[in-house]
């Protein structure tokens, strides 16, 4: 291929040259060029290498269907996998080919092309099966060989944004059909959005010259665009791709022309009441030996390069066709100064008018012939004309081979919308059939290819959409145009193969017709399986050019009609979408909206190490002193709670008010624990089971009045518990009179805990008798703490004497600071979530998400005594009585004391039996939590072990990662089993 810039023509600005680099070489193009057109104009034929065989490749297309020219952009545009036909040429653009080293003209990887016999379809599946353990080695090589580009190393200097948008009629595509649809809908007064992926409107009219109303079609495009642009109810987005069609008419649109210099792309999520799809069609390639040589391209692409960019892709062309469009193409190319050496027509009897036209233009036509072969590895030098179905024939010198295999309608969005496709036997392609959503297709994307019928179809679709959206449509008459000659397409795409020559179906993934037949011989029949096994249609272009040929080859191998094969599923996105646009504003510090307690300013000033501890709450993990690491700080904090006084911010706990005359009855069903008889101002530890009898959540239930309860849940489950409570009330027991209010962030909590807790509380509390007799464990009192109205609860998650003080969130920081001040001489120690974890492990308290892992029932966790089995009913009750529940061993919670008391067992470590007759390698359970016990002064763990309680007093074996040691199985409550400390 020896492209060059024509002296005239094209929609480029020849007064504005642009310098750019390709593979390090300085080149020049013009404003209005794409990278692809500029490369062609510079005579660059080889733009990259193919993925698997590393064959030299040139441009095949001019639009989004391009599957060879994949480039890596450098500098500020740093991005992999960009398609050269979609990259607008800008000053200083720096592009490189992919899949080749050191460069596309000489590439070491090309050895794969010689080894092709060893690289059949399913090569990876067949080759890398064994020996066992070799996969990491294979993977290292495969990862290096695969991958089309390099991920950018720094953040995009330009920004992205996303937003919602709404309209009455969304028109996708600003070709002749889309423009007419927008005019018809726009004139009705409907809010119209017209979205087109190209920078300029006109669609196929930009690519091939035509006439409308007796003038050049682009004059009409300019007039219609001008009319649309003055309508206040019409918005026109150019350089914007509708890439996805989701449920209920939600369409994703990526806008590249954002109107702001610092914004690279904008994602619009458009809810349209009605949609018109006018996506056009893509030309279909032909399958013949060496059809991937640089210089073989789509006929429509060659015309587009000439018309849009004033670039001739070659000097001497041969057009290979199965339909009549080639004759128009030949005439246009000749008119622009590109020599057409011949037309190779696969049809046995082309229409006489077409033949007469060619004869008049002096172009020889080879009727009933196809391509036998191509000469020229780095660029076409000759084409062999072979009779259809045969091999061998005369060679024609040429540097450009144009493929005209008919049209593939752009049904992608239609199919994504859920619409059903149907085969159009005359056109050999699929077209929209039954719509599911509020949309209709118009023009070439539903198989209408003549310009007059496209304009009429667009008018109809626009009017229909506006009417369906509730607008009165005035008569809109489409302009006058010709349909041109009929396609009269012959259903021939693949030509006879030549020995040792590949004929490609999917260019980007290097899938040949022979690969598809091999897959079929190996038993792959479903098109979805053939696709995945051969990877045909799975490249960046998602089979825009290759899919129908893949179906055709498979259908003929199966000897069935193509319609019997079906199509693969079309999924978003239509063209690749930057992750940057999908994330947009949700990046960096805004990616997760962290929640913080009111005490956070104090934690920060005290040097707390903050991180997430469930449910997007960022809270102190530990408060290290200058010389401390996490381990030391955690142990010091935990020891303060065991032997002095600590203070813990437990504000993130889930909190709920349940009020109403039936509140007690409702909660009695929700909890397996008894609630009905809970006295006023008393607290009960309650378990919520799921209906399958497993533990769902645990927390406290406090009675503040006959009809008034206050519940807490675990931090992580707060949202789920709220949804759970509402669901049972509203869907199952709506007759119960009560209401539920989530108050998690209304109240904030400070927990004063440790043997000296009462002494500290005495200094700051008014109106509450703190003596154990007057204020026992699991009671609540109302009074004043540090002068602030507060509820004080005697609950404990540490095993020590504890007072949990709840105050309205706005007072929480003042409360915290007052408590710290009051306890200064007692060495009050702030405690983070790490120490809290250590304390609960030593006390043998369960943690939802660790021991209560969704499988454990209450008895498995040693909490069977909390199940009020004599209650008539509660959620989960029936499941606890299922016979199978107690049929086998239950995995039960136990404590472990490992031989090595100085090191922690890794959480999740498997536990094995050492009993005679048991498989010593089969896990019988696992470690759920480990801690260095502050009171015991040694390493201890909690584990879930099969029939673990029966093993108490015996030993179990731990895996190599856990030190290949034994551990003594003990009761999980390592400290104060009678609860004397917490009741003190």
């Amino acid at each position: 291929m020896t492209g060059y810039r024509l002296d005239r023509g094209g929609r480029i600005d020849r007064t504005r040259p642009i310098e750019f680099r390709f593979n390090g070489c300085a080149l020049q193009g013009f404003a209005g060029d794409t990278l692809a057109s500029a490369l062609l104009a510079n005579g660059i034929g080889v733009v990259g290498r193919s993925f698997k065989y590393h064959r030299p490749r040139g441009l095949i297309a001019a639009g989004v269907e391009e599957c060879n020219a994949i480039v890596q952009l450098g500098g500020d545009d740093d991005a992999p996998n960009m398609v050269a036909t979609r990259v607008a040429l800008t000053e200083g653009l720096d592009a490189r080919s992919v899949n080749c080293w050191p460069g596309p003209n000489f590439d070491f990887g090309a050895i794969n092309d010689r080894l092709g016999r060893l690289l059949p379809a399913g090569f990876y599946y067949k080759t890398f099966m064994g020996p066992r353990g070799f996969w990491p080695l294979y993977e290292w090589f495969i990862r290096r060989a695969a991958g089309l580009g390099r991920v950018p190393e720094r953040r995009d200097p330009l920004g992205y944004e996303k937003r919602y948008d709404h309209c009455d009629v969304l028109v996708v595509g600003a070709g002749p059909a889309g423009l007419m649809a927008a005019v018809a809908a726009g004139r009705s007064g409907a809010r119209v959005m017209l979205v087109d992926e190209r920078p300029e409107p006109g669609g196929m009219l930009l690519d091939a010259p035509d006439d409308i109303d007796g003038h050049p079609a682009l004059d009409w495009v300019a007039a219609v665009t001008a009319e649309l642009d003055v309508m206040a109810n019409v918005r026109r987005l150019a350089d914007a791709t509708a890439f996805a069609y989701y449920d209920h008419n939600l369409i994703g649109v990526i806008e590249r022309n954002t109107g702001r210099a610092n914004l690279r792309e904008r994602l619009r999520k458009v809810r349209a009441r009605q949609v018109v799809l006018a996506a056009g069609a893509i030309e279909r390639p032909l399958v013949f030996p060496d059809n991937d040589r640089p210089g073989v391209m789509l006929a429509s692409a060659a015309l587009a390069y000439v018309e849009r960019w004033g670039v001739a892709p070659g000097r001497r062309a041969v057009i290979v066709t199965n339909n009549s469009s080639a004759y128009d193409t030949a005439r246009h190319l000749k008119a622009r100064g590109v020599e057409v050496a011949a037309i190779v027509d696969l049809r046995a009897t082309p229409p006489a008018t077409a033949l007469a036209e060619a004869a008049g233009a002096g172009i020889s036509v080879h009727v009933g012939h196809g391509v036998g072969g191509i000469r020229g590895r780095m660029g076409v030098t000759a084409l062999q004309v072979a009779p259809v179905g045969e091999v061998g024939g005369d060679w024609i010198d040429c540097d450009l081979v144009l493929m005209a295999g008919g049209w593939t309608p752009g049904v992608h969005l239609f199919s994504q919308s859920g619409g059903k496709l149907r085969w159009e036997p005359d056109l050999g392609c699929v077209v929209p059939d039954r719509c599911v959503q509020a949309e209709r297709s118009a023009g070439a994307c539903r198989g209408r290819f003549g310009l007059a019928s496209v304009l009429a179809d667009g008018t109809r679709a626009g009017a229909e959409a506006a009417r369906a959206a509730g607008f009165a449509v005035r008569d809109v008459t489409p302009p006058v145009a010709s349909n041109g000659p009929a396609l009269e397409l012959a259903l021939i795409w693949e030509m006879a193969g030549a020995r040792g020559r590949r004929a490609f179906v999917d260019f980007q993934n290097d899938v040949t017709a022979a690969d598809i037949r091999l897959a079929r011989r190996e038993g792959y029949r479903s098109i979805e399986h053939v696709k995945r096994y051969t990877t045909g249609g799975m490249a960046i272009d998602q089979g825009k050019t290759g899919n129908l040929n893949l179906i055709d080859v498979l259908a003929r191998a199966e000897d069935v009609a193509a319609s019997a094969i079906g199509t693969t599923t079309y999924r978003p996105p239509y063209t690749p979408v930057n992750f940057g646009a999908l994330a947009a504003q949700d990046a960096g510090p805004t990616i997760v909206p962290w929640r913080e307690t009111p005490m956070t300013p104090w934690h920060a000033s005290a040097g707390a190490v903050m991180y997430e501890a469930g449910a997007t709450w960022r809270r102190p993990g530990y408060y290290p002193r200058p010389d401390e690491d996490m381990e030391a700080a955690t142990l010091r904090e935990a020891r303060a709670v065991r032997f002095g006084v600590g203070i813990y911010d437990s504000s993130p706990l889930g909190k709920f008010e349940v009020r109403g005359p039936d509140a007690a009855a409702f909660l009695d069903r929700i909890y397996c624990t008894r609630i009905l008889d809970l006295p006023h101002h008393r607290i009960r530890y309650g378990l919520m089971l799921r209906e399958d009898g497993r533990l769902f959540d645990d927390g406290t239930v406090m009675r503040l009045g006959p009809d008034h309860f206050f519940l807490t849940s675990t931090t992580g489950n707060a949202d789920a518990v709220y949804a759970w409570l509402e669901r049972w009330h509203k869907c199952e027991w709506p007759a119960l009179k009560l209401w539920i209010t989530p108050v998690t962030t209304v109240w904030a909590n400070a927990v004063v805990c440790g043997p000296h807790a009462r002494d500290l509380m005495a200094r700051v509390t008014e109106g509450v008798d703190l003596a154990s007799k007057a204020f026992p464990f699991m009671a609540v009192r109302e009074g004043k703490v540090a002068g602030l109205p507060a509820r004080v609860m005697r609950v404990s998650f540490t095993g020590e004497l504890s007072f949990e003080i709840n105050v309205p969130a706005r007072h929480a920081l003042a409360l915290w600071e007052a408590l710290i001040d009051a306890g200064r001489d007692m060495d009050i120690t702030p405690v983070g979530s790490e120490a809290s974890h250590v304390l609960r492990v030593e006390k043998g308290y369960i943690s939802v998400g660790h021991e209560a892992d969704g499988m454990a029932g209450p008895d498995d966790l040693g909490l069977g005594r909390l199940v009020a089995r004599d209650k008539p009913d509660f959620i989960g009750k029936r499941s606890l009585a299922i016979a199978a529940w107690n049929a086998g061993p239950r995995r039960q919670m136990v404590g472990l004391l490992p031989e090595n008391g100085a090191a922690l067992l890794p959480e999740g470590a498997p536990v094995m039996s050492v009993e005679a007759g048991r498989d010593p390698s089969a896990p019988i359970g696992f470690v759920t939590a480990s801690a260095m016990g502050p009171a015991l002064g040694r390493s201890l763990s909690i584990a879930m072990i099969d029939d673990g309680r029966a093993l108490i007093g015996r030993t179990v074996q731990l895996s190599a990662r856990a030190g290949s040691q034994r551990a003594l199985v003990v009761d999980p409550v390592f400290l104060d089993p009678q609860g004397a400390r917490l009741r003190s």
């Binding site: 209920h248 509203k730 029936r878 299922i882």
Partner: protein, 82 residues
């Protein structure tokens, strides 16, 4: 993304809602009276039909109403149940 008609708030995006599965499947009045097989069927078996289903939805990130709507599992077409 579905566009769901909340009876209280009007049309809202699906991400504000939580699906609550089959609307006409209620907890048996007396679970203890069921044998194991019937109870397990209640717990785990769902009709999963192709076509119209009535299902609970919760506008949890909105007005917090639980309501029933009819959805076609093939087309996702939605009708509000009065």
């Amino acid at each position: 993304m579905l566009l769901i008609p909340c009876p209280f708030c009007g049309l809202r995006n699906e991400e504000e809602f939580t699906s609550g599965s089959e609307a006409d499947r209620h907890r048996p009045a007396d679970p203890i009276a069921l044998d194991d097989q019937a109870w397990v069927a209640h717990l785990f078996e769902r009709a999963n039909p192709k076509g119209a289903v009535r299902e609970w939805w919760w506008h949890g990130r909105g007005c917090r109403l639980w309501f029933v709507l009819e959805r076609d599992t093939v087309t996702n077409a939605i009708k509000v149940v009065p």
